[in-house]
């Protein structure tokens, strides 16, 4: 009887250890570079990437960018790639503690595509799934805000916020360069 109980305890311990290892594996797997910046641009412009240009982050633009992000943008200029009415932006925003790299394509003032290129947080990477990013497609800017409500993801609130502000920022920046 005692031997049976001991075997049960050993099995139970191994099972718990397995679950713990699985949890660690999942938390580690959230981090990663899913697509390089160059691959994203090649895909966006069908392997004919235009020469990059820059927007200078100063004056009124700087204030508007700070309002959208909720903090100052780290950098005096923001690089983009533009071909006719399509522009592509690679932007970073902190999720909870670490920067998430997003690739956003804006076409005729609307979101064509948003992708997570690199995710460095331990959790919250569900935002990279197409089922989530699809919500942003065709979104437009209205009074410097998205013209639609984005459904959140439980446990990924900060990552969702990061993606929302980055898409808003990309729309705003695309609008600011549309007169060029």
């Amino acid at each position: 009887m005692a031997r049976l109980s001991q075997q049960y305890r050993v099995k139970q311990s191994l099972r718990l250890l397995g679950i713990a290892l699985l949890m660690i594996a999942f938390s580690v797997s959230a981090r990663g570079v899913y697509q390089s910046d160059e691959a994203f641009l090649n895909e966006a412009f069908n392997n004919e990437v235009p020469r990059s240009k820059v927007v200078w982050n100063k004056g009124e633009l700087r204030q508007a960018i700070s309002t959208i992000l909720g903090h100052d943008y780290a950098g005096l200029r923001i690089r983009y790639w533009k071909d006719n009415n399509r522009s592509s932006w690679i932007l970073e925003e902190i999720g909870k503690e670490k920067p998430i790299t997003f690739g956003v394509i804006i076409s005729d003032g609307k979101v064509e595509q948003v992708k997570v290129l690199a995710f460095r947080e331990s959790r919250g990477d569900e935002i990279r799934h197409p089922a989530f990013t699809r919500q942003f497609e065709q979104a437009e800017l209205e009074s410097n805000q998205l013209n639609r409500q984005v459904d959140g993801i439980s446990g990924a609130t900060m990552s969702v916020r990061a993606m929302t502000v980055v898409v808003t920022l990309a729309l705003y920046l695309a609008e600011s360069i549309s007169t060029e």
Partner: protein, 239 residues
């Protein structure tokens, strides 16, 4: 017996007099910390900072660009004593082009204004060749040495041509200037050791670590003994 006690009393009195003075003076100072603002005044003597282990800073690498010291501590990049940007990869060199300070890591160029304001990171997506090993200047133009050869660009840094050049002035690490090291030590460790902390450590002996604490304990023990011998002699005299 009384004579022996008097000799013991005198001898111990002479030995611990200096420490009684030290304890009394530091005790009075600690009683009036706020009045003397001892918690707001700092000591920056080199030997003291070194004794407390806050005197030195050890950057991963230092480059001198245009009167500024660029240093990296882990992922944090500093220009002089100001943190400016995070870089997950090591800085391999830096050059000054027109009014730009350009630092190179293996995969990116980090651009700063002459005043040290961060401009942007440029990577392969902005046309910068990957696998950078060093950055240098050739007749004022930026040159990159990469694992795939040598590349030259202009001040825009977004178009690079493969080239083979002799006599490029490559960036090289330098020692940290003393004034920047001092400023960085202040950034990392504060303004120095507060007088309150110093006096408190003198009072309780911690200035000498655990040995100092035991030493003060012994002095306290001697004080107890000298008090008892004093009381003994006084009682004898009274009776």
């Amino acid at each position: 017996m009384n004579r022996k006690m008097r000799v013991l009393h005198r001898t111990m009195g002479a030995v611990i007099a200096i420490f009684v003075l030290l304890l009394a003076v530091t005790g009075v100072m600690l009683n009036h910390t706020s009045d003397f603002e001892l918690d707001k005044r700092y000591l920056t003597w080199d030997w003291l900072l070194s004794h407390y282990g806050v005197g030195t800073v050890e950057p991963d690498v230092v480059y001198l660009l245009d009167q500024s010291a660029i240093s990296q501590f882990g992922s944090q990049v500093f220009i002089d004593a100001s943190p400016v940007v995070n870089s997950q990869t090591a800085i391999l060199g830096g050059v000054v082009i027109d009014n730009l300070m350009v630092l190179a890591t293996e995969s990116e160029l980090l651009l700063f204004t002459h005043e040290g304001e961060f401009i942007e990171k440029m990577s392969a997506s902005a046309g910068v060749p990957p696998l950078i090993q060093n950055i240098g200047l050739f007749h004022g133009e930026p040159v990159l040495q990469t694992r795939n050869g040598m590349w030259r660009s202009d001040f825009l840094l977004d178009q690079w041509e493969a080239i083979s050049l002799q006599g490029v002035g490559w960036s090289q690490p330098e020692p940290m200037p003393d004034n920047v090291e001092k400023a960085l030590a202040e950034y990392f460790h504060g303004r120095g050791i507060s007088i309150e902390r110093f006096v408190l450590d003198l009072h309780n002996g911690r200035i000498l670590g655990n040995v100092g604490v035991w030493f003060i304990d012994i002095i306290a023990g001697l004080l107890i003994v000298i008090s008892l011998t004093g009381i003994w002699m006084w009682l004898r005299r009274v009776s």
